[in-house]
């Protein structure tokens, strides 16, 4: 059960955009350089993020993207939902499943799906950034 490369790279790219956007549009090339992701790959990702209403794009020589929402309103769920084909462990509902399978679908696999979705929905990009910055600070103060 893996999060796809697209979801993982897209999440990092979105966070990179948010941390570097200070009014001016950020080029995909700059994100590509900082994150070590190909520009071509990022184009597909940002097309999906734009479609999901998470980024605003501007074409032309000053081209690039800006976040469409503040960091504390962008949940991990919204980003991954835009980039992953499915966040579910299973293929969807199996109405004719025999009793044992139906039981496991409901009590195990669907339960994990709910937990995962709940986790992603409860964490925003602002939360991740804050947690990362605090971790750094904790490490640096350890020498005192």
């Amino acid at each position: 059960m893996k999060i796809s490369t697209r979801g993982r790279y897209g999440l990092r790219a979105m966070i990179d955009l948010i941390t570097h956007a200070e009014g001016e549009y950020i080029s995909l090339r700059s994100i590509a350089e900082r994150q070590g992701i190909s520009s071509g790959y990022l184009e597909g990702i940002f097309a999906a993020l734009k479609k999901a209403g998470l980024v605003l794009g501007s074409a032309g020589s000053q081209g690039g993207y800006l976040p469409a929402l503040p960091a504390d309103e962008i949940t991990i769920y919204r980003i991954l939902d835009a980039l992953e084909s499915s966040l579910s462990l299973t293929e969807g509902s199996e109405p004719d499943a025999p009793p044992l399978r139906a039981f496991l679908n409901k009590e195990v696999w669907d339960r994990i799906d709910s937990t995962v979705a709940g986790l992603f929905d409860s964490i925003t990009v602002a939360d991740l950034i804050r947690e990362f910055e605090n971790r750094d600070r904790a490490v640096n103060s350890s020498g005192l």
């Binding site: 796809s4 994150q35 299973t90 293929e91 044992l100 496991l104 009590e107 195990v108 937990t115 947690e131």
Partner: protein, 143 residues
């Protein structure tokens, strides 16, 4: 984030054994008949489960497979790990050197993957064949 059918069928087959065949060897043929999972697929799954030490094989006429440990000692997590190798949805969560990107320890997202892995692990490791069998019996009894 798909979980392969082989992992889900592995848990189903072992839960079947915990419910119906905990004290005598059972063949993949019988399990196939009762669960609808193809026998060939079960053979592959059971090969992995045996390799991981979750099943033992009994040869001979009354042969088949037996749970290697009691249903109380067999967690759903160990079953999924036997088929998937790991429960971790992003490799870096359990091993930073598995990170293929240049951000490495400057990665803002890794903490998320660690937390995700932990939550999935907690759920699957907190369930045993015994607890699932009991819950299933209760449910069936209530109908």
């Amino acid at each position: 984030m798909k979980l392969s059918t082989k992992s889900r069928y592995a848990l189903e087959a072992l839960l079947y054994m915990a419910l119906h065949a905990y004290d005598h060897p059972v063949s993949t043929g019988e399990i196939s008949k009762e669960t609808g999972i193809s026998e060939g697929y079960l053979d592959q799954i059971f090969f992995r489960l045996r390799k991981a030490g979750l099943l033992t094989a009994v040869r001979g006429k009354a042969g088949g497979f037996l749970l290697a440990s009691s249903p109380e000692e067999t967690s759903a997590g160990s079953v999924v790990r036997a088929l998937e190798g790991t429960l971790v949805p992003v490799a870096c969560a359990e091993d930073l050197s598995a990170c293929k990107s240049l951000v490495r320890d400057q990665c803002v997202t890794r903490a998320l993957w660690v937390r995700l892995s932990r939550e999935i692990g907690n759920i699957l490791d907190g369930m045993t064949l015994a607890s699932l069998a009991e819950a299933f019996r209760e449910k069936e009894g209530a109908l």
